[in-house]
């Protein structure tokens, strides 16, 4: 067997036109329709070539080819390794395959050697010979490529020993980084599509919806609506035609979990959508993906093509009588299309503007038909819930937030990347245990959660339990799960201004309060950052925020004031010092900075004079220099080149 369509002998008849209902189970444990030791050995050998058993002499090199590692040079690495194995005649005993994202993009390109699970980080092309020589041939570790803890300096040999992974619970991401996303056999060998086969053969739509309700799964796109409830509404809705839509328009700056799931485990999303289709009575699905994610689109296309060819997607799926097809729609670059009604309008070929709800998409969605719309991560949870049961899933997490959530941990933190944790873990655990603390030994200031709709949490909130309800009551929100860590050099007024400039340019313009309100709020924040603020601006901002929040139609307008409200709540003193003292405590707002040379430290080397683009620095050689504040454009070039730390920001 070279792939899962190969027949063991002439008794097998499975094709996409004439599917066999035992196809999946048969390929994993079969043959089921006849007894033959040769046939069953063929299957075992094939599965073992994908999941290599510990005792096997065969080795497999997994190279991460997600967007992160690819941009760090993973593809060149892949070519180099294949070439090296070829020249040394190792191609038969050592396999090489690409995988999706491991989540630890900071350390890329990443490489895992199976079955020992040795985990190499930042592997460059010139390290390839050493890995082959030492690890593959010599059975030793290439010590200097192992992950090194930035604090303790200890090295970790395997994946599980790296602190970044050790504290995580990877359910949705369990396949990401371990299977080849462009190979359906890899997914099936890892129990893939068993969820949908259990659904269509053993469960009724009502039972599935009950199970999803029991699991307690809530929408992972941000709002946290109970998934089972939504499915129930669509199931009950009257209509000859229904649709399933997957929202993969991941637009929040700072969030990339959906991209990683689509790139690393696309079949899980397809399977989730199929189960949903069966449960709600739909036979057609759409995936709306951002055009900025070309790799995700490519892998989805491959996945759909393969699933159709293998008789798992399409008409009469595995001879169950259930039909389901999936199409991809590429977004055209509008953040507001992440809002459900805007997304549906965009699929229909219009300007992506939200509309009034009700009617909700569950009653009247795509082309006026009942539509079940869920996010990528939500769908990716479904196959495991169906396979293992709702009560298994609900045993993870807190009272009202079940299961795990993927966060994109970024910003000024040592270990950036994707982390999947059980609900209820504390923010401190995520940032300091998994994230390894703040970069360059600086002090923690705030963490921004939930993107442009979310809020900033200060140090005293770090022990907050991470779940939907605690975050809402703290004035933040789960959102899609972006976590941007900020240190003492980040200015909170500037952060609020940054998010407002984003929502202002992305506001679709339909509702006047949002269109005009975001513009005015941005004006005020820009004024404050430029040192032109007035004390009454604070009240005006608060009032505008309240109005925009309560009078906008969709989530964009209703939540866009959150960054202002939360920074004002926890960092009001920063606003005041910008306005009253014309001073930016973090030293980030350019207009409020003044560069000065400490004459005692200056040796008069002239480096700063050379780099200053505005000719603002003067002084004799070996005599202390001075900066002319009237000419200085505050670019910071002088500070970067000064070897004596004599230039300070006042």
């Amino acid at each position: 067997m070279k792939d899962l369509m190969d027949k063991c002998c002439s008794k097998c008849f499975h094709t996409s036109e004439k599917p066999c209902r035992d196809y999946l189970a048969c390929r994993l444990e079969g043959p089921l329709c006849h007894q033959d030791e040769t046939c069953s050995r063929k299957r075992r050998d094939f599965i073992n070539s994908i999941i290599i058993p510990q005792e096997s002499k065969k080795r497999e090199i997994l190279i991460c080819a997600g967007t992160g590692c690819a941009s760090s040079g993973a593809l060149g690495l892949l070519a180099k390794i294949s070439e090296e194995l070829e020249t040394r005649g190792l191609s038969d005993s050592v396999g090489v395959k690409i995988t999706g994202c491991h989540g630890f993009c900071e350390q890329g390109p990443l490489m895992i050697i199976e079955p020992s699970k040795t985990f190499y980080t930042q592997v460059q092309e010139e390290d390839v010979a050493e890995i082959v020589e030492k690890d593959l041939l010599g059975g030793e570790l290439a010590e200097h490529l192992l992950y090194q803890d930035p604090i303790t300096g200890e090295r970790a040999a395997t994946y599980e020993q790296v602190p970044f992974y050790a504290r995580q619970k990877r359910l949705v991401l369990h396949n990401c980084g371990h299977i080849n996303p462009e190979e359906i056999s890899d997914y099936i060998a890892n129990k893939g599509y068993l969820g949908v086969s259990k659904a269509v053969f053993e469960l009724t739509p009502e039972q599935i919806i009950e199970d999803v309700k029991l699991s307690g799964l809530r929408g992972r796109g941000g709002a946290g609506f109970p998934t089972g409830l939504k499915w129930g509404f669509v199931h009950q809705a009257q209509g000859d035609k229904k649709y399933v839509v997957c929202n993969a328009d991941e637009g929040d700056p700072g969030a990339f979990m959906d991209r990683s799931v689509l790139e690393g485990d696309p079949h899980a999303v397809l399977e989730g959508m199929m189960i949903c289709g069966y449960a709600v009575g739909a036979d057609e699905g759409y995936i709306y993906v951002r055009a900025e994610y070309p790799l995700a689109i490519k892998r989805l296309k491959i996945a759909i093509e393969q699933a159709e060819k293998y008789g798992i997607l399409g008409n009469n799926i595995m001879d169950s009588g259930f039909n389901f097809s999936i199409k991809i729609k590429a977004g055209a670059g509008a953040f507001v299309c992440g809002e459900e009604t805007a997304l549906l309008t965009s699929i229909e070929g219009n300007r992506g503007m939200p509309r009034v709800r009700p009617p909700f998409p569950a009653q009247s969605g795509l082309w006026g038909k009942p539509t079940c719309l869920n996010n990528v991560e939500t769908f990716a949870n479904i196959p495991q819930i169906i396979r293992n049961g709702g009560s298994w899933y609900s045993s993870i997490g807190t009272e009202n937030s079940k299961g795990t959530k993927i966060f994109a941990l970024t910003g000024n933190v040592n270990n950036t990347g994707l982390v999947e944790v059980p609900m209820g873990i504390s923010m401190r655990d995520i940032i300091f245990s998994i994230g390894g603390g703040i970069k360059n030994g600086k002090k923690f200031k705030a963490v921004q959660i939930g993107g442009p709709s979310g809020g900033c949490l200060p140090e005293e909130m770090l022990d907050l339990s991470v779940d939907y309800d605690s975050l809402n009551s703290a004035g933040a929100m789960m959102g899609s799960g972006g976590l941007v860590v900020m240190d003492e050099t980040t200015c909170m007024v500037d952060v609020a201004r940054y998010f407002l400039s984003f929502t202002q340019s992305e506001s679709c313009g339909k509702c006047t309060p949002c269109r005009e309100g975001t513009t005015r709020m941005l004006e005020i924040l820009t004024r404050i950052c430029d040192g032109q603020g007035k004390m009454e601006d604070i009240d005006t901002l608060e009032r505008l925020a309240r109005v925009v929040r309560s009078t906008s139609l969709c989530g964009l307008g209703q939540t866009c004031p959150n960054p202002i409200i939360s920074t004002m709540r926890f960092f009001k003193d920063e606003y005041i010092s910008h306005i009253r003292d014309r001073h930016c405590p973090a030293g980030a707002c350019k207009a409020l900075l003044e560069y000065r040379i400490i004459s005692e430290k200056c040796r008069g080397c002239g480096m700063c004079i050379k780099v200053c683009p505005a000719e603002a620095i003067s002084g004799e050689k070996k005599q202390p220099h001075v900066i002319d504040p009237a000419k200085c454009i505050k670019c910071g070039s002088c500070k970067e080149v000064c070897k004596f730390d004599s230039i300070v920001i006042a």
């Binding site: 992160g68 890329g108 990339f256 055209a332 994707l418 972006g482 984003f502």
Partner: protein, 161 residues
């Protein structure tokens, strides 16, 4: 046109565009995919192409124009051979994306959403590329480049002719 060298090329484009119109005629919700693929052919959306699309789909030109100007992906003017998109995401912002943008902008002497006279580069920003782990990031055509500094970014764009 003052010279004839471009004519055969433009005929070729015309042909594939006509094929495209045929493919989508009568399909529901075809406007956006049609515009996307037309832009792939021409590199931008010429007025004549939008008019023909409107005719084929039986949609008022005003609606087509409305959709084109709503989405940031569509362009009404010719663009450079290489599209530089500097990420403005939160993580990139915090790690100095502004400096990267300024450096690139200074190097190729164009502002945001502008194209160099020789049509070599178009400079754009993008809300988030989803490669936050490597911030600050920029994308040149389909390649993502991470862990940038102002100097490094300048060096990278030189590689694109």
């Amino acid at each position: 046109m003052s010279c004839n060298c471009g004519e055969s090329k433009s005929l070729e484009l015309q042909e594939s565009f006509q094929e495209l119109l045929k493919k989508y005629k009568g399909t529901r919700g075809a406007l956006i995919p049609l515009l996307q693929e037309a832009q792939e052919i021409y590199g931008y959306l010429p007025k004549e192409a939008m008019q023909q699309i409107s005719g084929t789909l039986n949609i008022p030109f005003s609606k087509t124009y409305g959709v084109v100007t709503f989405y940031s992906q569509f362009h009404l003017k010719p663009r450079g051979r290489n599209i530089i998109r500097v990420c403005q995401g939160t993580a990139c912002h915090v790690r100095g994306a502004t400096k990267v943008f300024d450096a690139v902008s200074k190097k190729i002497q164009v502002a945001k959403n502008e194209t160099t006279k020789d049509l070599r580069y178009t400079l754009e920003t993008v809300a988030c590329l989803g490669a936050c782990g490597l911030a600050p990031v920029m994308m040149v055509n389909e390649d993502t480049h991470g862990r940038l500094t102002a100097d490094k970014a300048g060096g990278i764009i030189e590689r694109y002719e």
